[in-house]
Symmetry: C2
Subunit: 212 residues, 2 copies
DNA sequence: AACTGTGAAGACTTTCACAGCA
DNA sequence: TGCTGTGAAAGTCTTCACAGTT
C-alpha cells in the first residue's frame, strides 16, 4: 500500500462515517460501536474497525467509540479540522446550485469566489458569492490562497481552465466537466459524472432483472 | 467474483470508455487501441484490454478497436442501448440543475417527471419537465414505467420517499440526499455526495503536501 | 510491427476469528 | 458480556508478460 499503509478505499469511507457520526450527535447519542455503524452504512463490523484502526486507536474494548471524539479524530484525518478556501469556475445551472448549497460550510469548505465568462453574470452575486471574470482567476487564487476548485465549465473549456488553475497554485480540482482532465501530476483531480452514475445504476438494475 | 466474473470496478470504467469513444467519434476517428485509450484516461493498457475483454471480443489483434462498434457494444453492456424513463424527486437548486441538464438525453435517459411538496412549484415546468405533487409519485411511477429515480430531497425526507419509490416499483435510486438509504434489497442505490468528494480531495491534497 | 486476449503472478482489500480490555 | 484491534486467510483486482492474430 502506498501511504502509511492506508488503503484508498478506507479513505473513501471516512466521509461516510463522519456523516453518520454527525447524525448521531444531532440525535444526542454519545457512544456507538463498529456493529452499530456497520448496520446503518451497510458494511461489516470488521471493516469499520479496520478502517478506523488505520488512523489510530479511537475505540475502547467493551465500550465502543465516543461519538464526539471520533468526529474530531476523523476530521483531523481528512484535514477538515481547518477551513479550506474553494472557488467555483463556471456559473451555469450546476455551478449556481453548488454556490447556493449550504452543506459545504458544515464540512469546513468556504466558497470564496465564482468565475464565468458571460458578461451578464460577472459582478453579480450567487448564493452570497461574487462572480468574477475568468481573467481574474490567477489573481484571486493567489490572493485568497485557494487550494481547491470546483470545475463546472463545458467540456471544451475544461482543460484550458484546469491548466490555468494548477499553474496559479490550485492543488485539487473537483471536476464536473464531462471530460478527463490532463493536468500536471502535482494536482489531485476527482471526477464527478452524474451521467456515468446513472449508467452504472442502469447496469445494476438490468443485471438484477436478468438474475431473476 | 460475483457476476459472470466481471469486477464491479471494471463496470465503473465502462462509462469512462464510452465517454472517451464518443469524443473520438466526434473528432472523426474510426479506430483506436488499448494503449491510446489508456493514455487519455490515465489507466494502463492491460487494464483497458482486460476490462473490455470481460464483456466480449471487441478488438482485433494488430488493428485495435473500431470506435463505432465498441460504442455500440458498450452501450449494450450498460443497457443504455434502450431508453430509460427517469424521475427527479425534489426540485431544489440541485434538482432544478439536473432537470435543465441536457446531457442525460445523449446517454439514453429521459426525465419524464419531477416531484416536490412546495405548492408554488407544483404544476410548473422546469427544463421542459412538469413538476407534480409528491402524492402523484406512485401513480406516475406505475403509469410511465419508471425504473430509475434521482433523489434530491432533504436528508430528513429521503428514507420516506425512497421507500415509496421502491414500493411503487422503482428499481434504482441515484441518491443525492446526504444520508444512507435503508431500502429493500431488491432496489439498487448509488450515492452521490459532493461534500464527501470535496473531503476526499482535501485529504489527497493534504497528503501530497506532507509527502513533500 | 502493431496489436489483442489471457494465464499466472502480484498487489490490494475484506473477512474471519480470537486474544485481551472494560 | 460486549466490545476493540489485529494476525492470518480468503477474496478481489491489477499488472506482467507472452502466445497468437493481422
Amino acid at each position: 500500500m502506498k501511504n502509511g499503509d492506508v488503503p484508498e478505499a478506507a479513505v473513501g469511507r471516512i466521509s461516510l462515517y463522519l456523516r453518520h457520526l454527525e447524525q448521531l450527535r444531532r440525535e444526542g447519542r454519545q457512544r456507538t460501536s463498529s456493529g452499530r455503524i456497520a448496520r446503518r452504512l451497510h458494511l461489516s463490523d470488521a471493516q469499520v474497525r479496520r478502517d478506523l484502526a488505520y488512523f489510530g486507536h479511537f475505540g475502547r474494548p467493551g465500550l465502543g467509540y465516543e461519538v464526539d471524539g471520533l468526529i474530531d479524530a476523523l476530521r483531523g484525518v481528512l484535514g477538515t479540522d481547518k477551513s479550506w478556501a474553494v472557488i467555483v469556475v463556471g456559473v451555469g445551472d450546476l455551478g449556481r446550485a453548488l454556490l447556493r448549497y449550504r452543506g459545504f460550510q458544515r464540512r469546513s469548505f468556504r466558497i470564496v469566489a465564482a468565475f464565468d465568462v458571460a458578461p451578464g453574470k460577472i459582478g453579480r452575486r450567487v448564493g452570497g458569492v461574487r462572480v468574477h471574470a475568468l481573467e481574474d482567476l490567477e489573481r484571486v487564487v493567489t490572493e485568497q490562497e485557494v487550494h481547491l476548485a470546483i470545475l463546472t465549465v463545458p467540456a471544451a473549456a475544461a482543460n484550458d481552465v484546469a491548466g490555468r488553475l494548477v499553474d496559479a497554485g490550485a492543488e485539487g480540482i473537483l471536476n464536473f466537466s464531462p471530460t478527463t482532465l490532463q493536468v500536471a501530476e502535482r494536482a489531485a483531480v476527482k471526477p464527478v459524472d452524474v451521467g456515468a452514475s446513472l449508467e452504472q445504476l442502469a447496469f445494476q438494475v438490468a443485471r438484477k432483472q436478468t438474475a431473476r
